[in-house]
């Protein structure tokens, strides 16, 4: 009874693994495991520099390997798959992985920043906030170097997420990325109640959405008889697996696409699945918010693009109208709610939701221009947003303690600290899409792709939404530069080398990608092809 007589006997040899193509992922994973061992065996006083060094080296090495792999891809070949088709290595994936590795490296600088021997993380997260025990740990100078292995594992998930070429790998990547982030959200040193609340909300909603993703994957498996993207694509073209020859499997596919989309749209934070974003971005330690706002967004959009273009590319007629509605809702609703925000981190969170809407217009376009536009947008937005959160970490309350997010009290900041306010102004102008910044090039690319794909109404909504968002970015700039400083205004702490470096990198990337986007645009998939042509799903050649 238990052994079905129709199950095949597995006699195949284990798949041949191309270690070189897996090397970036394995490096980050190995560094994460090593970092856990350091936690156990290295004396506490020497752990911090070691952890930072290993994490930075691993991310640098991963980036270098991704670049070398991209360089070694033969001309005219888009890429290949490894590990029996579980992971894709193609130009699109490598571009996104390189972006994620760089963004993680920049966020790592922010995470490692310390002021008076204290970083942004709780001295001992297991203690109850406000307790005697907590005070003892703060006085003893305890610190959570566990942050670094957690960050490495989260980055491993981010690197895997856009490369996953079947639903099982994608689900594992989703969880490997999310689980460490749930914990990291709850580790803030100050305002720990907010931080813990953010962790609970993020965890419960995240687990809820990944259950939707998984059930969707199960439905697609039922329809196609496989979770591999290439085989799903073939099954969609053929009208279902062998057991659905009368075409009665269609409801399964539609249910599957819908539920998988819910899981992915939650991760990118599109309306109506965006509710976690403001709470989590505000409550989490700001360096972790920077990592989530940049790396997680790139990874989640990478996966979303892959899922809609490769396995579900053949049923675009079914999902495009739904994404239309989601994109419009995202751009309109988030922009309207953002106008009434008073806290700078919440405002940046809503701004991130609006940007997700802009990128969705490129997905709706369903063309390779759309794919290229979305990829450029993600890279440009990632660096700008990390820079903006780095600025937020420096503006503190009078006693130099916790961050002061209340925008009404930022008045006159630009007069007293012109350099800092100037950098933030540049980032906000990039968010608004003002020419000569990276935001303009990105927005132009996604809107142009949407227009040429016939989604002009969507672009009209996008431009209107841009105008609304530009209004509240301008309001911040006006508050900073054209209002007199108040007596109870914020203190701006001196930027350390790390935070200063992050802001400098953010400014440089925003300007360079705005003024000379050419070299980066050359890395993107060429226009005029099916978007799926830029993504390898089957072993081409050796595999």
């Amino acid at each position: 009874m238990f052994l079905a007589d129709n199950l095949p006997v597995v006699t195949e040899n284990p798949p041949v693994l191309d270690w070189w193509l897996l090397a970036p992922l394995l490096t980050v994973f190995g560094a994460g495991v090593l970092a856990v061992l350091f936690e156990a065996f290295v004396p506490a006083s020497r752990r911090r520099p070691l952890q930072i060094g290993v994490a930075a080296l691993a991310l640098l090495a991963a980036f270098a390997m991704v670049v070398l792999q991209a360089g070694s891809l033969p001309e005219g070949q888009v890429g290949t798959t490894v590990a029996a088709g579980a992971l894709a290595v193609d130009r699109t994936v490598l571009f996104l992985q390189g972006t994620i590795a760089l963004l993680a490296l920049v966020s790592l600088l922010l995470i490692s920043e310390r002021r008076d021997g204290r970083d942004a993380f709780a001295a001992q997260a297991a203690t109850v906030p406000g307790s005697e025990e907590e005070r003892a740990h703060i006085l003893a100078g305890s610190q959570h170097t566990e942050v670094y292995p957690l960050v490495l594992f989260a980055v491993l998930g981010m690197l895997m997420f856009p490369a996953a070429n079947d639903f099982l790998t994608m689900f594992i990547a989703l969880e490997v990325m999310s689980l460490p982030l749930y914990l990291l959200c709850g580790l803030a040193r100050r305002r720990r109640l907010f931080s813990q609340e953010a962790a609970v909300k993020y965890f419960l909603l995240g687990a809820f959405s990944s259950a939707f993703f998984l059930f969707g994957a199960a439905m697609v498996y039922g329809y196609a008889g496989s979770v591999n993207f290439a085989e799903i694509r073939a099954a969609v073209d053929a009208g279902g697996a062998a057991i659905f020859q009368e075409g009665n499997g269609e409801p399964l596919l539609l249910l599957g696409i819908g539920l998988v989309a819910v899981g992915l749209l939650f991760k990118v934070g599109a309306v109506p699945f965006h509710n976690w974003k403001p709470d989590v971005y505000q409550g989490a330690p700001t360096p972790i918010t920077a990592l989530m706002a940049s790396g997680t967004l790139v990874a989640a959009f990478g996966a979303l693009l892959r899922v809609f273009f490769v396995p579900f590319g053949g049923s675009a007629g079914q999902w495009e109208p739904v994404l239309w509605i989601v994109a419009v809702l995202t751009m309109v609703a988030a922009a309207i709610v953002a106008v009434s925000q008073r806290d700078v981190k919440r405002l940046l969170a809503y701004s991130s939701v609006v940007h997700a809407g802009f990128i969705l217009t490129a997905v709706v376009a369903g063309s390779s221009e759309g794919l290229a536009g979305a990829m450029f947008y993600l890279a440009a937005y990632g660096f700008t947003t990390v820079g903006a959160f780095a600025v937020v970490t420096l503006v503190r309350t009078k006693d130099g303690g916790q961050e002061l997010g209340d925008l009404d009290r930022w008045s006159g900041l630009g007069r007293r600290h012109p350099a800092l306010a100037g950098a933030l102004t540049l980032f906000l102008l990039a968010f608004a899409g003002i020419p000569l910044t990276s935001g303009f090039v990105g927005k132009f690319a996604v809107f142009e792709a949407a227009v040429s794909a016939g989604a002009t109404p969507l672009v009209v909504v996008g431009v209107l939404s841009s105008a609304v968002t530009a209004f509240f970015y301008m309001r911040i700039i006006l508050v900073m530069f054209f209002r007199d400083p108040e007596a109870d205004g914020p203190t701006v702490v001196r930027a350390g080398a790390a935070t200063g470096g992050v802001i400098a990198i953010g400014v440089a990337a925003t300007l360079l990608l705005g003024l000379y986007p050419g070299p980066v645009l050359d890395l993107l998939p060429p226009s005029g092809e099916e978007p799926a042509a830029a993504m390898a799903d089957q072993a081409a050649g050796t595999g």
């Binding site: 962790a199 419960l204 809820f208 059930f215 199960a218």
Partner: protein
């Protein structure tokens, strides 16, 4: 028995889990409902594997169990921590983060 019945059962379990997440207010119960949803996914995978005469779905069920276990570790740690701080696992009490 027709394996399709198991798919119907899995869908029902998934719906019960989803309803529980949306309606219940205790973090532990909400979390249990999420686990119920994951197990509904497992049932669906295994039933489909049987229908297709394929082992892939069964293998996936094992992976999902491991992931669910990892999720329990992380989730209970977070819920424990907020319970120790507030002496309550109610999600309605945790509402500091509003603008």
């Amino acid at each position: 028995m027709d394996p399709m019945n198991y798919i119907v059962l899995a869908t029902l379990l998934f719906a019960i889990g989803a309803a529980g997440v949306l309606l219940r207010r205790n973090a532990i119960i909400v979390f249990m409902c999420v686990e119920l949803m994951l197990n509904a996914c497992n049932l669906a995978f295994v039933a489909f594997a049987r229908m297709h005469g394929d082992i892939e779905g069964q293998v996936i069920a094992f992976f999902v169990m491991v992931v669910a276990a990892a999720e329990v570790v992380v989730g209970l740690a977070i819920i424990m921590q907020i319970f120790r701080t507030r002496r309550s696992a109610s999600l309605d009490d945790a509402s500091l983060l509003k603008h």
